[in-house]
């Protein structure tokens, strides 16, 4: 790939980051989603643990889950909104008439997801330390970085899947986004260990990278992981799901061009 070509691709990727940045700047609702809800969730769950009188170890367990889930939520919603806003504004046709591809779309929106998630992640770490005495940095910066990297790459799997749903079902895909995320709350051990799930579901939980990333990070707070290499499993599964989700997105775009939904979604 020549330098000029590479530069062009980077500009096209940046187009979606720019769009996401403008959406964040101009839509108060989006800003609320990014900042407000994660903090409401953190504070309310933190206070619940205080009310229930659980020990500090349990507080750490739950708050790690809450923060991890917020990262996933923000990362995936930033990716999904880039397409959902185009569908809601009926401008998708004009954007897809430009020489862009699925990679530009997901890379650009993921970059903004990464930016938003990083800020919220750091703020939540500091906040939980001040309010609930959870020292997120105790495990060391490198481990914290690996944990966050795993989360944000897994958020991409969810975000890409929602984008694929958007090309298939239009604006209704945000229901899919909510559903996918709700499944994660249920199955991946955010508020409780996956062992408390019914046996078949606890097996399913280990097919979710988030379960492994949580086990990895909680291991530094005295919780023994089920698998000896949770980080490795987390990244391996994430890579597989990102690949599958990307293929699904490419297929959804191709189908939208074949069936005419790309045009009808803009009418």
């Amino acid at each position: 790939m020549s330098f000029l070509n590479l530069r062009k691709h980077l500009i096209q990727i940046n187009a979606f980051a720019f769009k996401n940045w403008l959406i964040t700047r101009k839509r108060v609702f989006h800003l609320v989603e990014i900042i407000f809800w994660p903090f409401i969730s953190l504070v309310s769950v933190g206070l619940l643990t205080r009310f229930l009188g659980v020990d500090s170890k349990m507080i750490e367990f739950v708050l790690i889950g809450v923060i991890a889930f917020s990262v996933i939520q923000i990362g995936q919603s930033d990716m999904a909104y880039v397409i959902l806003y185009s569908i809601w504004n009926k401008s998708l046709k004009h954007e897809m008439a430009a020489p862009i591809n699925a990679f530009h779309l997901i890379a650009g929106s993921w970059v903004m997801g990464l930016f938003h998630s990083s800020i919220v992640f750091l703020l939540m770490c500091v906040f939980s330390s001040l309010l609930f005495h959870l020292n997120f940095f105790a495990s060391g910066m490198a481990r914290l970085f690996l944990f966050f990297t795993g989360l944000i790459f897994f958020a991409a799997s969810v975000g890409i899947s929602v984008c694929a749903l958007a090309f298939r079902f239009g604006g209704r895909a945000h229901v899919g986004a909510t559903s996918l995320v709700s499944v994660l709350i249920l199955l991946s051990g955010i508020y409780y260990p996956v062992e408390v799930l019914p046996k078949p579901l606890s097996h399913v939980a280990y097919f979710i990278p988030l379960t492994h990333f949580l086990e990895y990070f909680r291991s530094f707070y005295g919780f023994v992981p089920k698998s000896p290499h949770p980080l490795l499993w987390g990244f391996l599964l994430t890579a597989i799901y990102n690949f599958i989700a990307f293929c699904l997105l490419c297929r959804a775009i191709r189908n939208a061009r074949q069936k005419g939904t790309l045009v009808t979604m803009s009418e």
């Binding site: 530069r7 185009s86 004009h94 008439a97 430009a98 061009r257 045009v263």
Partner: protein
């Protein structure tokens, strides 16, 4: 030299919620010469938007082959998207982005680098008189200004072919006229090939080097405006009501520009290519008959429906 070539293009939409599949295009053959303005006209549901969507690669054909600027519609769709652009009547953009932000975003989608993009945006804002709306959000623009923004966006990448799907629909006559003049100038000065769909016969005639009539997914006539008028007797109708003895229509048929004459019970109906040119010699000839007394002269411009009714009566080849 053809810049667009389509051969036997078919498109059927899958059934929608228990309905039947819709055959939108049934074997379209089309060639558009470089540097021309080509209009596709037809009633609602004729397949115009489907055809333009296929040429812009927003939609893949089921069957048939085609090239745009030498690139295959299906296998080189990305290449085509780099060198064409498209806009439509009632085009939508992100509603709370300003004019400049929307243009900036589209410039980036076309991979334009910073300085070149900024220069281009400034030029387009000036060209389409959008200076006063530079920072106005899209949802606060009037319909006409939105359409000017859509046209500005469609020139962002200096396209070789510009596709316009009903570009003046819903606009007031003054804005429509200025858009037509803009398009004509771009075609004349820069040699830009323009393919447009329209309901408006006058617009098609004013702009087009060639016109295709599309009906029920088929091209039922094609040619330049003069050829088509001749072929389908499309033209203005002059109705002259008179008092006096019977009148021999042969006198009028020999006049230049007269396509058809009918005389019936004190009413002469003459179809001419252009009433501005033909009314005067026509009335002079009628008056030269001496005994006739003119009562009333009525001018009728045929609308799209008239032309299509005419076309539907007899089979036409391309």
């Amino acid at each position: 030299m053809e810049i667009i070539s389509l051969k036997d293009i078919h498109k059927t939409y899958p059934p929608d919620r228990g309905g039947k599949p819709v055959r939108a295009l049934k074997g379209i053959d089309l060639e558009v010469a470089k540097g021309t303005i080509f209009s596709i006209i037809g009633p609602n549901g004729a397949g115009k938007t489907t055809l333009i969507s296929i040429m812009t690669t927003l939609l893949f054909p089921d069957d048939g082959t085609g090239t745009v600027c030498g690139f295959d519609l299906r296998h080189k769709a990305g290449k085509i998207r780099e060198i064409v652009n498209v806009t439509s009547g009632n085009a939508n953009f992100t509603d709370n982005f300003s004019v400049a932000e929307n243009l900036n975003y589209y410039g980036m989608l076309y991979g334009m680098a910073g300085e070149a993009r900024r220069t281009k945006i400034a030029g387009l804002i000036e060209m389409f008189h959008l200076q006063a709306f530079r920072d106005t959000p899209f949802n606060r623009l009037s319909t006409g200004t939105k359409q000017r923004l859509a046209l500005a966006k469609s020139l962002m990448n200096d396209p070789k072919v510009l596709f316009l799907d009903e570009p003046t629909v819903g606009l007031d006559p003054q804005i429509s006229e200025s858009i037509r003049i803009n398009l004509k100038e771009m075609n004349r000065k820069e040699g830009l090939t323009i393919v447009l769909t329209t309901h408006n016969m006058d617009e098609a005639e004013f702009l087009s080097d060639r016109i295709s009539f599309l009906q029920a997914g088929k091209i039922i006539a094609e040619g330049n405006p003069t050829e088509l008028k001749r072929k389908i007797r499309w033209g203005d109708v002059i109705r002259i009501r008179y008092n006096g003895p019977s009148f021999d229509p042969c006198h009028l048929s020999s006049l230049d520009g007269v396509l058809e004459v009918d005389v019936n019970d004190g009413l002469i109906t003459v179809r001419v290519d252009d009433h501005n040119k033909r009314l005067d010699p026509l009335t002079r000839m009628v008056l030269s008959e001496g005994d006739l007394l003119l009562q009333d002269i009525e001018l009728i411009k045929p609308d799209l429906e008239d032309v299509f009714l005419e076309l539907a009566k007899t089979p036409h080849s391309n």
